[in-house]
Symmetry: C2
Subunit: 580 residues, 2 copies
Amino acid sequence: MDRRGAIISLRTLMERKGISAMIIPSNDPHFGEYIPDHYKCREWLSCFTGSAGTLVVTGQSAALWTDSRYFVQADKELAGTGILLMKLKIAGTPSIPEWIKSELPEGGTVAIDEDLFTYSEYKGYLSALDPLKVEMISDPFDEIWEGRPSLEFHSVECMPESVSGESVISKRERLCAALGVGTPFAYVVTALDEIAWLCNIRGCDVEYNPLVIAYAIVTTDKITLFGCVNMFPEQVKSYLRSQNVEIVGYSSLTDALKGLGDDVVKIFSSDQATAKNYMAAGPNILPDPTTGGTLNLMKAKKNSVELDGFRRACAEDAKAWKKLLEYLRVNIVEKDPQEYILNPLTEYDIAEKLIEFRSESEDYRGESFEPIVAYAANGALPHYTATKESYSVIRQKGFLLIDSGAQYTYGTTDTTRTIPMGPLTQEEMEDYTAVLKGMTDLSMARFPQGTRGAQLDILARGPLFSRGKKYLHGTGHGIGHYLCVHEGPQSIRMEENPVHLYPGMVLSNEPAVYVEGSHGIRIENTIVVSPWKVGDDGEYYEFETITQIPISTDPVVWSRLSEEEKQWLYSHGFIDQPPM
Amino acid sequence: MDRRGAIISLRTLMERKGISAMIIPSNDPHFGEYIPDHYKCREWLSCFTGSAGTLVVTGQSAALWTDSRYFVQADKELAGTGILLMKLKIAGTPSIPEWIKSELPEGGTVAIDEDLFTYSEYKGYLSALDPLKVEMISDPFDEIWEGRPSLEFHSVECMPESVSGESVISKRERLCAALGVGTPFAYVVTALDEIAWLCNIRGCDVEYNPLVIAYAIVTTDKITLFGCVNMFPEQVKSYLRSQNVEIVGYSSLTDALKGLGDDVVKIFSSDQATAKNYMAAGPNILPDPTTGGTLNLMKAKKNSVELDGFRRACAEDAKAWKKLLEYLRVNIVEKDPQEYILNPLTEYDIAEKLIEFRSESEDYRGESFEPIVAYAANGALPHYTATKESYSVIRQKGFLLIDSGAQYTYGTTDTTRTIPMGPLTQEEMEDYTAVLKGMTDLSMARFPQGTRGAQLDILARGPLFSRGKKYLHGTGHGIGHYLCVHEGPQSIRMEENPVHLYPGMVLSNEPAVYVEGSHGIRIENTIVVSPWKVGDDGEYYEFETITQIPISTDPVVWSRLSEEEKQWLYSHGFIDQPPM
């Protein structure tokens, strides 16, 4: 069936059910970063493959809202589908409710899938779409999507306590104590990384992230894990049993929530619960008492065993990266130009090469995200990916930007290096130096307990600002422990985030600059919030940089760096000798 | 009548009116920083003279909530009054509603003054005190406070357009355009500095701040100014008439609000409207559409004439400061010790001396706040004031901290200098250098449009953090144009404030360090957000430092400053020659 056929099938179903419009988001019931194919309904309907976009289909019309990252791609992919492209944050673009109201007759009904919207999104639409009716429906796609991929569950592994550093019982007890609820309660966990961390399990149900698709309910005496029971091998079951974890069927969560009883206090570990589950749990729902989420914050503050795992993962990953850097030196940078031009390497070759070098480690469990290997102007495209079919050839000049990370059984890595392939322009060198300076300044920061990421962000951005340049993405995201390479609740970004930085939190440190049509530069290390000293007025923290991959110094304009910055780069092994 | 008598009178009145508890805040109906004596009811009842504190009186008991700045003072001043001291932000301190609920019988009535609480505070108490009743009453103190100071109005002056740089008509038109309301509306202004700025008037109804006690309602065709009509001289009336400003009685605002009609949209310029006025204006009240307030933000973005006035005020103030610095040098620092000890100078002498030097300027209109002249350990007390009765003698060692500002007819100043009176300890010198470094780093900042103060704050704090020290107050507050020395909506502080920094905003830049029992150091300049350059991706700003008062360099540990920092201090005339 072509995609017009898909929309026609949806319209037929809508008509039969008396629905005038349907909103189809890019979500699954766990609201994670990667969506299992089973839930790629928006992509199936619209042909648009970007990760962020919301489709609305009415009886006669259809429109897709996406952000500036995807304007070009969406324009291309929507061609011929009859779906209007709605550019978010561009003047004149109507909001989804505004557009629906302009399209529908009075008394129309707007349907949303009860599994793909949070309760607060649902409430938001209720109020914004008034006086139209909003109806929650359950997944209509099984009926109309021929060949829909099924939701796949895979075999579950335990993360040994020698790697996680804490038993499930201990985690549960700490969680219950932190919640501080005096009466009977049920803590409902829907985020897959929180469940994996809490239960010391890992899986491969989601691309790049070693997650197990499941829900959990935590009470003072046990954890009920809602998953695909027969994907838990006997020894995993046995460990979980010993930790008071009971495994029950994935789809029984909603009924379990309904059965909790009105006197039990329900707390959702995040506001990312589906409207269906939220409403099944009510009444007597309390908000999570901790900014950022009690369990989420516990997960983010790594213990010393987890941190040792991170350091080991960084060391293991550095072996592969060093081989890659040597490979680039020999096969591109120092290759005879006449020889190189006959058989040049491509971005895709390099991405494959890094995987090859990583695979030499026994503990490697795959990439932690889709690697970015971007040559010259491609480096300025924020979401560039070279594929087997589409890539650029690398030449013997300019920058090659490589942003890549790996999963090891004891930690997750995420590193970016921008490597000169030959001669550079003065602007490239000045930009590189400003990015390096920003990365270094943030690495050297010291700050008191209670500091938020937004307060530190300027340290990484400042040198770029002083060149009249900026990058729009965050400076640092949380990194999970053999888990998601992007995790909350901590961040270092321009936007306010009330979560404090606590010892044990692992973050990226990745200032960058993008010059359209010319070059992109990003330097990214992994940093750990660590105790520094106890002052007269409280505790102070600093960052430990755990990435061990060399940083190219050829592009550096040394006079722009302070003595302190040079000293830091030297003492952390990123440069050989501080120039005078 | 002693203060117990005051509380007894209040209780008698409460009993007569069937009130079980009354909450008495430190507010007036304009919610300004300085409260006219007429509204110092909490001070009259409790003897507590601090600027922040809320008193609750019940039939049997009374308690006063204040913050850590005032614990020592409140303890002293409340002694013998029978009023409990409730320490805010200390574990175990009940909130005001919690305490009232524990003190009152069921069905009790809590009274609040309709003129001294905002509508949102009133709603907050309604919900927090439930099931107790909350009753709004009108000022009960006229009846019981014998000798209560009357609310004093003074003669009003115009600020000529040659000083304000813009006519009232132009300000009103810009305001109405910025509000962008299509239907008939009334913009209600209750903040005194907004009214003074909008109407190009100044007065002396409030200590330190050249304000006129008034309200205003702005409509598309005129401004109605609610003030003390006979305090407006004929030529002021005539100017205001020419600017479509109609002056009516101060107390007629509430009736005017009631008379606006339900179809008129009402917008309050801040959320600081009294409960009485807010309720008189309803229904059809919309929030101010601008973050920080439309009029407040217009006032904060100074035009070039206002900025010229600020620069002139800084130059004029520098003359007085330079005389003071010379006076300190001759009469303390370089004075023969045996001679000096016989006739030492005090903090109070110095405060008076600065006023004397300032008074030599024809344009001087008084201090812009109560000056802080604090010697040695006194400098570590955040709210220290030397008075004629209570002061310290200055010795020929350690630091003297002077934080003082003045009102000139064309601008307001605010400067802090920390001046060595003789030998210093190594810790004093290192602390001084860190504060100077922070002040300099913030001064040199460059940043794109859309930056918030909280993003830049770390630049001033960072060098202190690197010593394991911190200060808890803000780094920068807005400064008015011959107006309040503290103005909004902009700020540079740790706490999130969503207001962006715009060109023309004037702020303080005042990092500090306080070592209890030893010394306090603060260095404060006035800075202006200024356009720097237009980059490929938007506008970038920088700060212009307009303070021209020398900074002592004797305490500087030069090796801690970067070349860039030294160069900045040299090029801005704060140091004579950059040391190698």
